[in-house]
């Protein structure tokens, strides 16, 4: 539409949640610009016009002017009340989810996102949704605070460990949008990225069907999936590179030097202990950074992960 601050905002891809916000942001920007130019102009104009000409310049005694002061208090007051109402309206949009919204469960953890569909399908760091339909994300965190943010939809909400929160949006066209975590959550906070992938509705159904019901496959396949979903890979590489924790490549039966100087050979029990009680044995050169997965993984799942790690040698 060609407004002066258009360059400031990214393309709006969910008008249902963002149109009011955008109009408000433009309004505040434009009114502020007018005031800022006015103030700056007055400053410069006065500084030039009334510059001191001699040391004994006389200045008039102007102490106050009630009419003027009331005017310039009331006008801004009215303006900010408009801004308040407008912001409130936009906020109601963000919090009023259409009844027919498609629901997806979201879990945030250090440092990634998992998305669960009601078919049982589960996927990490990508959420696939149908175009032209409202989508509601019901969110919780496994550890610390995170915040789910999609700039192109103008939505954001904190993700808490003890409480469900939600956001909703309706992407109009097929395409991709960036998801950020905006609540600082430690070392790899800035890598905690995800994508919203919008499909045409038919393509979405096909995609969802292909995902199956989750949990299927061989133990190794399940293990591989878990390592992604649980975010192990954000700290443990599978290709030998050194991240926050030791790499999984060649981990099986590797001899590890521990921080207390002793050594240990990696076996089932060591892996299991490291998952459930990570601080028990710290590998030399690494920080005690990992949180326990106690209660988050079943014994079968741990076994699947071990099967998978074995294949990385």
């Amino acid at each position: 539409m060609g407004r002066i601050f258009d360059f400031m905002l990214p393309e709006l891809k969910s008008p249902a949640t963002g149109a009011t916000t955008d109009a408000l942001i433009h309004f505040v920007n434009e009114v502020s610009l007018i005031f800022l130019v006015g103030i700056t102009f007055a400053l410069i104009y006065f500084a030039v016009k009334y510059r001191r000409r001699s040391e004994d310049d006389k200045t008039p005694v102007i102490t106050h002017n009630n009419k003027l002061e009331i005017t310039w208090s009331v006008i801004p007051l009215l303006l900010v009340m408009v801004v308040f109402g407008w912001g409130y309206k936009g906020w109601l949009n963000l919090n009023t989810v259409p009844d027919d919204a498609y629901e997806i469960q979201v879990t945030g953890f250090k440092w990634g996102w998992t998305f669960n569909y009601n078919t049982g399908a589960q996927i990490a760091n990508e959420v696939h949704v149908p175009a032209g339909k409202p989508v509601k994300l019901v969110m919780k965190s496994q550890d610390v605070l995170h915040s789910f943010y999609v700039p192109e939809y103008r939505i954001k909400h904190d993700v808490l460990p003890n409480r469900y929160t939600f956001v909703w949006f309706q992407a109009e066209e097929a395409g991709e949008s960036q998801v950020f975590c905006t609540e600082y959550c430690g070392t790899s906070h800035s890598n905690m990225l995800a994508k919203v992938i919008v499909h045409e509705p038919e393509d979405f159904e096909t995609w969802l069907a292909k995902q199956g019901t989750g949990g299927g496959g061989t133990p190794v396949e399940r293990g591989e999936n878990l390592v992604q979903l649980q975010g192990c890979v954000t700290c443990h590489s599978q290709d030998g590179s050194d991240l926050i924790g030791p790499t999984f490549q060649g981990l099986w039966e590797r001899e590890e030097r521990l921080a207390d100087g002793s050594t240990i050979t990696v076996d089932e029990n060591y892996i299991r202990e490291s998952i459930l009680d990570p601080s028990a044995k710290i590998v030399e050169g690494y920080q005690n950074q990992m949180a326990s997965y106690e209660g988050r993984l079943t014994d079968e799942q741990i076994s699947d992960i071990i099967e998978y790690i074995k294949t990385l040698n």
Partner: protein, 577 residues
């Protein structure tokens, strides 16, 4: 009481013509010498200078950390430091700038020096407490330094739980440091409130109080009322880490959002602890360099108090996305707009003061202009962030980073620089180089905008804050910002050099180089140990620029030979208006 009546009352007393010596023999700087005399002094001026030194040191440290952050952000991935180090640096940068620079800067450093002089007192009400609060500040700082060399701290200066209860870094050292520091702030506030109530010189009624004093008064009220909440919050956090209390940590049944309520209940008012004293300085400098009566004295004075009070009711606007209740969110948004109004009124009053003035663009005045421009941008973007749906999009992005730098650096720091240049001749008796003053002010202005303007755009585009890596699309913005920060840093370094240089090479300042009507300028520069060698009696207001200078020096002082006479002045009710 009319001025004429006051004058006649004063004539009955033994009144001396009062004119400060242009070349004082014995000043507070020469009165008692040596390191020990400084470290044990109870003179508010020396304590003010010691604070100034400490604040300058922390500002330098915080600034170098900022340059490290900006340098790291030159490229999207690793430029020269690891993610963990980066996280520690932005935490320390934020914590140092907020708790060790901005909160104490104007009240404890400049305020300590100027407040007693502006009310015509010999010192603050409790000089020993004043010294104690300085040492408490130093001890708080030492705790924070221990953290620095002991694992660092990576929570962000906001210490949000449950991250702060689970990280392996030194949370406890820093929270204890901040806890101790809080006492320093409370003591300074109490001291100022008492001084303003009890030690005003004869003739200084509330309506003749300089606006700087009104601002410090409002600030002190916030310090005394809000700081205890911070103390309790960090203490609870410390106990939570030590003993797993389960107040904030959901793993033990606690509520992390509760921490945010506690934290912002202090930290939002703290924003006003940082900025309101700046408002005081702006009022002083703008009248002096336009030689004109302030426009809307009462509007400015009372709006400081209004800001102090409403400031307690808006903390929830930091939590629109946090999961607090819908009612709270709406009410906090509404109240936030109310606090914008008194601030806006002040800006318009200052601009109106210039109208028909006699304006001289000396360095302090240049900083006032820079302040008015930058702080306006900070204010307008604050309105944006106060409105609910816009904040949802902008919260925790670089838009917020830019906003608070415009407010805190563009506001508080520019005011501090204005005040520092304005009172430097009074404090040191020396003039600095006007040319270099202006050069560096221009560099600061350019560098500042180059650093932080792109951040508004970047934030609105979606760049989150506290990010070590970023996606490629933001590279040009980050690089502009980094270049800007070097220009800004250069400007500030130049300031450091010419101010220090003036101590050795500066021209003598004389008692009142700016021809100000303020009471502090009626003392010698640097002032006598007791500020004024006679107790001043004040007849004219601090902004009566329409009256000739001689009147300010006439009948201003009561002779000091014995206690009785000073009491006489009070009994003759010079102080009633």
């Amino acid at each position: 009481m009319a001025t004429a009546e006051v004058s006649s009352n004063i004539k009955k007393l033994q009144v001396k013509r009062f004119k400060p010596a242009e070349d004082p023999k014995n000043t507070y700087l020469t009165d008692e010498k040596g390191l020990w005399a400084w470290l044990t002094t109870v003179d508010h001026k020396k304590i003010g200078l010691m604070y100034l030194g400490a604040v300058a040191f922390f500002f330098l440290l915080g600034g170098l950390l900022a340059l490290a952050l900006r340098t790291e952000l030159w490229t999207p991935a690793k430029t020269f430091i690891e993610a963990d180090t980066y996280n520690q640096i932005f935490t320390l940068h934020g914590a140092i700038m907020v708790f060790f620079v901005l909160v104490p800067s104007i009240p404890a450093a400049l305020g300590n020096f100027i407040l007693p002089m502006q009310v015509g007192a010999k010192d603050v009400a409790f000089p020993r407490l004043n010294l104690a609060s300085f040492y408490i500040y130093v001890i708080g700082a030492i705790f924070t330094f221990i953290a620095l060399f002991n694992n660092g701290l990576d929570t962000g200066w906001t210490f949000y739980t449950p991250y702060s209860t689970t990280t392996t870094t030194s949370v406890i050292w820093v929270t204890l440091g901040v806890f101790i520091l809080g006492f320093s702030s409370i003591l300074t506030g109490t001291n100022f409130i008492t001084t303003i109530h009890k030690l005003r010189a004869p003739g200084i009624t509330w309506s003749k109080l300089p606006l700087n004093i009104w601002a410090l008064y409002a600030t002190s009220i916030i310090q005394v009322l809000a700081t205890p909440v911070l103390a309790i919050t960090v203490l609870l956090l410390t106990m939570e880490r030590f003993m797993g209390l389960g107040i904030f940590d959901p793993a033990n049944g606690g509520d992390p959002v509760l921490f945010q309520h506690f934290f912002w209940f202090y930290s939002h008012p703290a924003v006003y602890i940082m900025i309101v004293p700046g408002f005081g300085i702006i009022s002083e400098v703008i009248t002096t360099f336009s030689k004109k009566h302030i426009f809307g004295y009462w509007a400015i004075a009372l709006s400081s108090l209004a800001i102090a009070f409403i400031g307690f009711l808006v903390w929830g606007h930091h939590m629109f996305t946090s999961g607090q209740s819908a009612v709270a969110t709406t009410v906090f948004s509404f109240l936030t707009f109310l606090v914008g109004i008194p601030t806006g009124i002040k800006i318009l009053n200052w601009v109106a003061t210039l109208y028909k003035g006699s304006i001289e663009m000396k360095t302090p005045m240049l900083y006032v202009f820079i302040f008015l421009f930058l702080f306006s941008i900070g204010g307008f973007t604050g309105i944006m962030l106060g409105s609910l749906s816009a904040d949802i999009h902008l919260h925790d992005t670089y838009y917020v980073v830019a906003h608070f730098h415009y407010v805190m650096m563009g506001g508080t720091l520019m005011a501090l620089l204005a005040g520092l240049h304005y009172w430097w001749p009074k404090m040191t008796g020396k003039m600095y180089s006007e040319v270099w003053g202006k050069i560096s002010a221009v560099l600061v202005f350019i560098g500042f905008n180059l650093t932080f303007l792109p951040q508004f755009v970047m934030g609105a585009q979606g760049m989150p804050r506290r990010y070590y890596n970023y996606i490629d699309q933001f590279t040009p913005f980050h690089q502009t910002s980094t270049i800007g920060s070097y220009v800004l840093g250069l400007g500030l370094f130049i300031t450091l050099f010419y101010l220090l240089h003036s101590l050795w090479r500066g021209k003598k300042a004389g008692s009142n180089p700016w021809n100000s009507r303020g009471l502090e300028w009626q003392a010698t520069s640097p002032p006598d140990f007791h500020n004024f060698d006679h107790t001043p009696v004040v007849i004219h207001g601090p902004y009566d620029y329409h009256k000739p200078m001689e009147e300010f020096q006439l009948g201003l002082a009561v002779s000091h030979n014995g206690h009785g006479e000073e009491t006489d002045v009070k009994e003759s009710k010079v102080t009633t208006n």
